[in-house]
């Protein structure tokens, strides 16, 4: 159905160009600083493209269309959550976090509360989140390679992790910034061009892209929807999970100051809004032309299979190749962003932040999730990522929000709140696999824990902080001033 030779060529092309750009970066990056954070030639537009490139993962590229095929209208909440999460980040986190001059989330925890114990816990959670986030990317790679070339899927996972390891080892973060920015536009084009092609083809041949509206009739009858609780809890997870994504926060460090961090975030919102139009349209097309995928468990392959189904022949092969290239760009960029922030966190905490430490950490950061991915089977991509967002929303999000906005936060409060969130969310997600899957049941409560677990984590953090008020960190005024006072004044004060 899909021409394996053309697909393999597309995968090779993206892989080789990614490695080439990274090696090019090697010539330019020589110091520790280069390895950690990109040089600040980065203007807001450029930086925003890089953030977009990093953020748009397998879940966005393949998962959303698949979800729309499976659950119809409910699937639309995913891209809304992914985008609106950035709005929350803009409102509550962007400028203060940039001003904190923290490079990673553990750095922020330490600057704000001055506790090594808290730093360790935060680092541990960041590492867990990154690993969990990389695994679905690798599952996506396995699926794409398996469907498009017929090769065994594990090869796809290994290929992605191998390339990420090489690029990160070669150039560190510096080259990654170029790669990421390039990959946003690559991913956008890789969905936009096929979408336009397919719509044009359908339009010219007089077929209706929505089968005269019939595609919307299934999945809207009562019982097909996941229910109100499910959607709202998902929304909470995505909105507040984005705040705490480690690989996204690192990127804010490359903004020169608070206002430019805000400007960058606003541009990211525009880029994401533009991007998500296309998976949505492809999902609708999928409901019309590949409806069988909804029931055979391969819905994530919708975007890959559509062109050959609608166009067929040479044109279908060419368009499929574009999509496969974009999909690999998605796996590569998100995974490398995660590996960079993971390696940064591990090496700062274990190796004192040397270049050698960063390299060792990068290898650790790639090998573990690869093992996890090979040892587990693929879930629905968008759903798996949703669980990671829920976990982040229950742990890192309360720390950031209360740390930035509430003077009363204490070390004891932060630690107990994060532990509550982590254990509660982890337990719920684990228990959800044991309970029968029915809409509007206990299963939903466990599978989408954000709606109760996030408030719980906040509550515990606030209450424990209240009770340990006498142990509030000294100099909280100085730290709060650093987070919130605009730059020009801040510099003259310090």
């Amino acid at each position: 159905m899909i021409n394996p030779t053309v697909s393999m060529l597309a995968v090779l092309l993206v892989s080789v160009s990614t490695v080439l750009i990274a090696i090019n970066g090697l010539r330019l990056s020589r110091t520790t600083g280069d390895f950690y954070v990109a040089s600040r030639t980065v203007r807001p537009w450029w930086n925003a493209s890089a953030i977009g490139g990093e953020y748009l993962s397998a879940a966005s590229f393949l998962g959303i269309a698949g979800l729309i095929v499976i659950s119809g209208q409910d699937g639309l909440w995913f891209p809304i959550g992914y985008t609106a999460g950035y709005l929350m980040l803009l409102l509550f986190v962007a400028a203060p976090l940039r001003r904190s001059r923290a490079y990673t989330i553990p750095d922020f925890a330490q600057i704000r509360l001055g506790s090594i114990k808290l730093r360790r816990l935060t680092s541990f959670l960041v590492v867990v989140i990154c690993w969990l986030y990389i695994v679905p990317q690798l599952h996506g790679a396995a699926l794409t390679l398996g469907i498009s070339t017929g090769l065994p899927g594990w090869l796809g996972s290994a290929l992605v992790m191998g390339i990420v390891c090489v690029t990160v080892l070669a150039g560190g973060m510096r080259s990654i910034t170029f790669v990421q920015a390039f990959q946003y536009w690559l991913k956008l084009a890789a969905l936009a061009i096929p979408t336009v092609f397919l719509l044009l083809h359908l339009g010219l041949s007089g077929e209706s892209a929505t089968l005269g509206g019939a595609v919307f009739d299934t999945g809207t009858e009562p019982g097909a929807s996941r229910g109100l609780y499910y959607n709202i809890s998902l929304l909470v997870a995505l909105l507040f999970g984005t705040l705490g994504l480690p690989h996204v926060l690192v990127r804010f460090y490359t903004n020169p100051d608070g206002p430019s961090a805000r400007k960058t975030t606003a541009i990211v919102l525009g880029l994401l809004s533009l991007f998500y139009l296309f998976p949505t349209v492809l999902g609708i097309l999928g409901r019309a032309y590949t409806p069988e995928l909804a029931s055979n468990g391969n819905a994530d392959a919708t975007v890959l299979l559509l062109p050959s189904r609608i166009l067929g022949g040479m044109a279908g092969d060419a368009v499929t190749a574009i999509i496969i290239g974009g999909a690999f760009a998605a796996f590569l960029s998100t995974s490398s962003g995660l590996v960079v922030s993971l390696a940064g966190t591990i090496s700062q905490d274990l190796f004192g932040g040397t270049v050698r430490g960063f390299r060792i950490s990068a290898v650790i950061a790639t090998v573990v999730p690869l093992g996890l991915a090979l040892g587990t089977s693929s879930l629905a991509l968008a759903g798996a990522i949703g669980s990671v967002f829920a976990f982040t929303a229950c742990t890192i999000c309360p720390l950031l929000l209360l740390g930035i906005w509430w003077r009363g936060l204490t070390v004891a409060g932060a630690i107990s709140g994060m532990l509550t969130g982590a254990l509660g969310c982890g337990f719920a997600l684990f228990a959800a696999t044991l309970v029968p899957n029915q809409p509007d049941s206990l299963h939903d409560l466990l599978a989408q824990p954000a709606a109760w677990c996030v408030p719980l984590a906040f509550l515990v953090m606030v209450l424990v902080s209240r009770f340990s008020r006498h142990r509030a960190p000294a100099r909280v005024d100085a730290v709060m001033a650093r987070l919130h006072v605009p730059e020009a004044v801040n510099d003259s004060l310090s």
Binding site: T31, T32, G33, D34, Y36, S39, R40, T41, Q73, W77, T83, A84, L87, M88, L90, L91, F92, A95, R101, A102, I111, G114, G212, G213, F216, T220, P222, L228, N231, I232, Y253, P256, K263, T265, A266, L269, S273, L277, I284, G344, Q348, D349, G352, G353, T354, P473, R475, D477, A478, M480, A481, R482, H484, V485, P486, A488, V489, D491, L493, S494
Partner: protein, 141 residues
């Protein structure tokens, strides 16, 4: 930048002497290539502290309050709208019979309409936040 090896674990300790060049001092945002680096040794420190003048502290607190009020009201407004949308679609399934170009209204709203709203919120917030900061600057000077 050479790593310093294990660094004293207290990030809030003040440096004993003023460093010749403040490692946290940010260069001006020009187009020229400037290297940005992670804090040496992995443990970030606070730079020399802001003044402990109670009047300053008061102004900073009121700045924080006004920024928080702004962020929270934009977030609340947006979230109410979003939850309202979810509730409306859930409790009133007949809305799917309202169609433009064969596509039901909820698909238009959720697939397209929400995004300009998000951008509008971002735009308004950025302006208002910058205004709060400008106000603070003019008071402090």
């Amino acid at each position: 930048m050479t790593p310093e090896g294990p660094v004293t674990p207290d990030p809030l300790a003040r440096p004993s002497a003023d460093p010749p060049q403040d490692p946290f001092r940010l260069p001006a945002p020009t187009g020229a290539r400037v290297r940005v680096s992670a804090p040496a040794g992995g443990t970030p420190r606070l730079p020399r502290s802001s003044s402990h003048d109670p009047v300053d502290t008061f102004y900073v607190r009121s700045l924080i309050r006004s920024q928080l009020r702004l962020a929270a009201s934009v977030a609340l407004g947006f979230l109410l709208l979003l939850v309202g949308l979810a509730v409306m679609v859930f409790t009133w399934p007949q809305i799917n019979d309202i169609r433009f170009l064969t596509i039901p209204l909820p698909w238009w709203l959720l697939g397209l309409g929400v995004y300009p709203l998000i951008l509008l919120c971002a735009f308004l917030f950025n302006h208002a936040a910058a205004r709060n900061e400008a106000k603070y600057r003019s008071i402090v000077r």
